[in-house]
């Protein structure tokens, strides 16, 4: 076929020969089952382009963005700028990985399978859980699945779910969507933002299935959830902790604190911002709940030659076997993003991840210190430990502040008043290892300047 962008290899002669073999006079003959009146609609689409033209077109569309590679940014709020070593994309670009699918046939899919097994091991190491799935869609859906898991674990009983207000608002919104079909009671989201998570404890009762918190929380705060875990367990409820994996380069594991399920957004592990996706849902749990875990799992085994190998396992949990009784409907997951995280964690290793986590920590604290001293600005939670994000309260509305910052070439923090009525004039600033001291200083100077204007 010979239109501009064709990837169809057939020559005319081949087409004719194949039609003959298929017993059809023409291509149209193959579609007699389609109701005639709806057959072959004319589609109103642009004329096909060659690769050269399409690249040109996409180049100009991409250039219409002014992205964080061009403008200094302090946006985080669930998606973070990190340096991705060149090795990550080197591996992701290998056709053997990115043009394969779910490794149903283990004999010819050991590359993907072993990578998943390694990913599972890395996530277990990071989180202190016993088992990780092969990936979920993103941090939000992983949390929704944790609640789904809790329903399965509690056999449909215990319909109360406690959500900390410190969970990413988009994650909470996602949970609300997922829970539409069930009579779940979602509580806790309007708790006092200043009260430590221990305040959630009083909401836990015998009807509570699961308590969900974030670590660090949406505001960057670091809490020890050990008491919360104990309280939940005391009432027979589960504790799910939604993590930022970079922070786990530094912080105590959710496992140590007693979490039953760990969810999280894996984007910080070597995945570009890419306007919000594709990202990586982390979903891990304790041994007891492995059989309720959603998504693919890879296990170790041996082949007929006695060689160690890996296969998809426990698939009786999954939709293709259990159909309406499956614990989740997830099928396609985030395979390639899982690979990105695996390569990223391998390349950085023990020292590198710690270095990144510490660098984020120090830079964010440097920024917070300076901002805390600025006239008119203050930190919302000056006494609570935080990781690489913090709330700045400014003398003017965050939207207006951000408009002014942008005039100086700075993308400000996330405007928290959009989600929290109590957080007027508050923005959430993230600082990571990619931001230099000079850039932070420039932000601080500019904040001083624009608050005057």
């Amino acid at each position: 076929m010979s239109y501009a962008g064709s990837f169809i290899p057939h020559t005319e002669a081949e087409r004719e020969e194949m039609l003959k073999a298929a017993g059809a006079g023409s291509l149209s003959d193959l579609f007699m089952d389609v109701p005639a009146k709806h057959r072959f609609p004319k589609l109103n689409l642009p004329e096909p382009l060659t690769e050269m033209e399409a690249r040109g077109e996409l180049e100009s569309i991409s250039a219409a963005n002014e992205s964080t590679n061009e403008v200094l940014s302090f946006l985080g709020a669930g998606a973070y700028s990190h340096y991705v070593p060149a090795g990550v994309d080197t591996i992701l670009r290998r056709g053997e990985y990115y043009t394969a699918y779910t490794p149903y046939q283990p004999e010819i899919s050991q590359g993907t399978l072993q990578a998943i097994f390694e990913y599972q091991s890395l996530i277990v190491a990071l989180t202190g859980m016993d088992a990780s799935n092969a990936s979920h869609y993103d941090g939000a859906t992983a949390l929704a699945e944790a609640i789904n898991m809790s329903r399965v674990i509690h056999r449909g009983e215990r319909r109360k779910v406690i959500l900390s207000p410190g969970l990413n608002p988009q994650y909470r919104a996602t949970v609300h969507t997922y829970e539409q079909g069930f009579d779940t009671t979602l509580v806790g989201e309007d708790s006092d933002l200043n009260a430590a998570p221990d305040a959630l404890i009083e909401l836990i009762d015998e009807q509570t299935g699961i308590v969900c918190v974030a670590y660090p929380d949406f505001f960057g705060r670091i809490y020890d959830y050990s008491n919360l875990a104990a309280a939940a367990h005391a009432k027979g409820a589960l504790l799910a902790i939604s993590v930022n994996p970079t922070a786990l380069g530094l912080l105590k594991t959710p496992g140590e604190m007693g979490a039953d399920i760990v969810t999280g957004e894996g984007q910080p592990l070597g995945i570009p911002l890419s306007f919000g996706g594709p990202y990586l849902g982390i979903l891990a749990t304790k041994q007891d709940y492995v059989r309720s875990l959603a998504g693919r799992l890879v296990g170790e085994t041996v082949d007929s030659k006695g060689q160690r190998g890996y296969v998809l396992t426990l698939s009786t949990r999954e939709q293709h076997i259990k159909r309406e009784r499956a614990s989740s409907n997830i099928c396609t997951n985030q395979g390639l993003m899982m690979l990105a995280a695996t390569v990223y964690l391998s390349l950085l290793g023990k020292q590198g991840l710690k270095q990144v986590a510490e660098s984020c920590y120090h830079k964010a604290h440097y920024a917070a210190d300076a901002i805390g001293k600025l006239k008119g600005y203050k930190l919302k939670f000056p006494d609570i430990p935080f990781f690489h994000e913090f709330i700045m309260e400014s003398p003017l509305a965050a939207a207006e502040l951000n408009r002014r910052l942008l005039e100086h070439g700075i993308i400000g923090g996330y405007d928290l008043s959009l989600d929290y009525a109590a957080l007027k004039n508050c923005s959430l600033l993230a600082v990571t290892e990619v931001t230099s001291k000079e850039e932070v200083d420039f932000l601080v100077e500019t904040l001083a300047e624009v608050s005057r204007g």
Partner: protein, 485 residues
């Protein structure tokens, strides 16, 4: 020699990629919150990259060979997509940037929505679903919301044909619905009588895959839809098989109410070894307000000569958001690039040749393998992988033996309504010579099944790994390595 695990490589204290020391004064670390150990690998950069490069070579992939995995549309993933999706303006766009700064991204999403609407004949599209299954979830939740919005609260069941993909029933349960299975008729269509008998006032809807998982176009599709609509139900279309329908027939025209499309199948975004996918959900007029959002829309109409300003629009009665941010944007760029290169003419050719390839294989194979539904197929077809006169041989044996010829096996044991199903989807990007080689292998295997079944039971023989012990994996569950040792 098997490839060691990443944790078996390295040495204590070995460093990989280094990062700069902080250029700011150091703050006190929160001692009470610090972890005591960080058991990650300690490997060098070359060591790590060598490991993942070697591992990659153990995969079969589209870029290394034919991959006729039915229902998955394993067609060529154009390499240009891999470039465009990584353009700096896209790769470094933060999802929460002010809309004025990300007009490029929003334009990509907006046009892709418009094009998908045109291709499927629906009134609106949300690109938010992360994959097909999440598109289904969105669709079924919209069905629920639609009925609820009308105060119609007794509808609690979803009908699902027995040939359906497992995600359909699983989705329905996850949406809180009861699932009722509908039999297929002898021609592979939905059994109309069985369907009608379930069309009552408790019916929320039907999930229909067309062409269905047998690769057959539903011959009574309009009657099926009419029956459901007649009972007040809605019809969900599983559009995983859109690769058969581009420019051939638009689901919206047939009366479907909602449909998801798998960009990772029909629109060439790569399967990534399991994902990411992207499952845009398309709806007819009466469901527009329920779409998950936000959606890219025109927020300021273009004044003459100017471009419009795109922004975020939340449908009025939206079921809400399905995930953080805006969907798998990188996949949107790829699908956009692909459609841009195809145009209307190209998309129709895609489906025509996909169907030609499938019918060609069907005709070449059907004398040697039982074809339970002998009709013109669409983009794929299902054979039986067993013979009465070769009792020991099963579909799995055929699948494994195909590996010896360098082919990825077809999907097997699905759909469930065909015994030892071999579900073969060649796609339009494979050439005749490849199909002929595949046919030759299949014929040889059919012959071997009768003359030398042991050869099949022992297969694969020429691959680096032999048959895996899947039972052992499930029994002696090892889901991670012992990274502490």
């Amino acid at each position: 020699m098997v490839e060691p695990l990443i944790y078996d490589l390295g040495a204590p204290g070995r460093r990989g990629v280094a990062f700069p020391e902080p250029d700011v004064p150091l703050a006190d670390l929160p001692a009470a919150h610090l972890r005591s150990e960080l058991p990650l690998p300690e490997v060098g950069e070359l060591e790590a990259l060598r490991h993942f490069t070697r591992l990659s070579q153990l995969n079969h992939s589209i870029l290394t060979g034919f991959y006729p995995l039915g229902s998955c549309t394993m067609k060529y993933n154009p390499v240009i997509n891999e470039d465009t999706a990584r353009f700096a303006g896209f790769a470094h766009a933060h999802p929460l940037q002010p809309i004025e700064m990300v007009q490029g991204s929003l334009a990509i999403m907006y046009h892709l929505q418009e094009w998908l609407k045109e291709i499927s004949s629906f009134a609106a599209v949300s690109l938010q679903p992360a994959a097909g299954a999440q598109g289904e979830l969105a669709g079924v939740m919209m069905i629920r919301a639609y009925h609820a919005d009308r105060g119609d609260s007794k509808r609690n069941k979803i009908l699902i044909p027995d040939s359906a993909h497992g995600t359909n029933p699983a989705t329905s349960s996850m949406s809180g619905y009861r699932v009722v299975e509908i039999k297929s008729d002898p021609r592979g269509n939905v059994d109309l009588e069985a369907l009608k008998s379930e069309c009552d006032e408790t019916l929320a809807g039907l999930m229909l895959t067309n062409p269905n998982t047998l690769g057959l176009f539903e011959e009574h599709v309009e009657q099926v839809i009419a029956a459901v609509h007649g009972a007040g139900g809605l019809v969900y279309g599983d559009g995983a098989n859109m690769n058969a329908l581009l420019g051939i027939c638009r689901p919206g025209d047939l009366g479907f109410d909602v449909l998801h499309i798998n960009l990772h199948k029909t629109f060439t975004t790569p399967h990534g070894g399991g994902g990411p996918g992207s499952g845009p959900v398309c709806v007819a007029e009466h469901l527009v307000d329920f779409l998950p959002g936000p959606i890219s829309g025109v927020v300021i109409e273009p004044t003459e000569g100017d471009a419009p300003v795109y922004g975020w629009v939340m449908p009025k009665k939206s079921i809400g958001r399905l995930k953080a941010f805006h969907g798998q944007f990188g996949m949107h760029v790829r699908a956009f690039t692909y459609i841009l290169m195809q145009g209307a003419e190209g998309l129709r050719a895609v489906s025509e040749y996909a169907v030609l390839n499938a019918n060609y294989l069907k005709e070449k194979l059907k004398g040697f393998y039982h074809l339970p539904y002998d009709r013109t197929c669409m983009h794929e077809m299902v054979l039986e992988g067993r013979w009465p006169d070769a009792p020991g041989v099963r579909a799995l044996d055929i699948a494994k033996r195909l590996m010896d010829f360098g082919f990825h096996p077809p999907t097997n044991y699905f759909p469930l309504i065909v015994h030892d199903a071999l579900m073969i989807e060649p796609t339009e990007t494979e050439d005749k010579a490849t199909l002929d080689a595949f046919v030759a292998a299949m014929l040889q295997i059919a012959e071997e099944a009768h003359s030398n079944p042991e050869l099949l039971h022992g297969a694969p023989h020429t691959t680096k790994y032999g048959r895996m012990d899947e039972v052992r994996a499930a029994r002696q569950l090892v889901l991670c390595c012992d990274f502490r040792s």
